[in-house]
């Protein structure tokens, strides 16, 4: 069989995760835009309405998964872009852990917000 082009390189677990999250985000981001701009409208936003949506366990779970996958996909994308630009050595390590810390803060803050809406005491 003739080999075909792919950006895959062996050992690329992050490569695979970037693509799996991409496929997931394609669907969920489209749903997110559609629900919050076309079904509901920007000028109708209220704590009450956000809360009503987030109290639904399926919606809550989907939004948490959305937050985690979007954070991973975005931050890993930034890291890849910087590595492509020639980031190496100590700088690369420092930036990598800074991005990990920023991701952690983002996910914690996102979960706290979702919990506040869902009426979960932990926020």
């Amino acid at each position: 069989m003739a080999e075909r082009y792919s950006s895959f390189q062996s050992g690329g677990r992050m490569w695979l995760l970037q693509r799996i999250t991409a496929a997931f985000l394609l669907v969920v981001l489209a749903f997110h835009f559609f629900l919050l701009h076309f079904v509901h409208h920007a000028d109708e936003v209220s704590f009450l309405a956000s809360s009503a949506r987030m109290e639904n366990l399926s919606y809550y779970s989907l939004m948490i998964l959305f937050l985690v996958t979007a954070t991973f996909h975005g931050v890993n994308g930034v890291y890849n872009a910087l590595v492509n630009q020639g980031l190496t050595g100590t700088k690369r390590t420092v930036i990598k852990w800074t991005l990990v810390a920023a991701s952690t803060v983002l996910i914690v803050q996102g979960v706290r917000t979702a919990n506040a809406w869902a009426g979960i005491g932990l926020y």
Partner: protein
């Protein structure tokens, strides 16, 4: 053996006049990616006003006088914010369509027509964005 195509150094932006469709797709994908991750951090920061709002009285929440509702309502009343949202939609739609193109190429579909699918991504992004303007602007005036 798989062949690699020597595209030259794409990071050398001074060569932009020589760039082909695929290189522009690469640049646009990076640019829209940076915008989207920047927006994600901003988005969560704004939505975080939901945390103090949860402590407001039931009467304040029912009346929409909590800090979250007030923050979002005042932001959405600004035409600039609505226009930025249209820009965000354009950026997101392009990243999604071009991302689909990249996933398909990695699955072995459409490498030969990758320049055409890039142009299709651009045209479709423009069409979806223009079609969404009335919905995104509604209630801003």
């Amino acid at each position: 053996m798989s062949q690699s195509y020597n595209r030259g150094l794409i990071e050398d932006f001074s060569r932009w006049r020589e760039f082909e469709a695929g290189m522009w797709a690469w640049i646009f994908h990076k640019f829209t990616g940076w915008v989207l991750i920047g927006y994600l951090f901003t988005h969560i920061a704004v939505l975080s006003t939901g945390i103090p709002a949860a402590g407001a009285s039931e009467a304040a929440i029912m009346a929409g006088e909590d800090v979250y509702t007030q923050t979002i309502v005042s932001l959405e009343s600004l035409l600039l914010v609505r226009l930025l949202e249209v820009g965000l939609l354009a950026v997101a739609v392009f990243h999604m369509l071009n991302g689909t193109r990249l996933l398909l190429v990695d699955l072995g579909v459409g490498l030969e027509s990758q320049n055409k699918s890039f142009y299709a991504s651009l045209i479709l992004t423009g069409a979806i964005t223009v079609a969404s303007v009335p919905t995104f602007i509604a209630g801003a005036f």
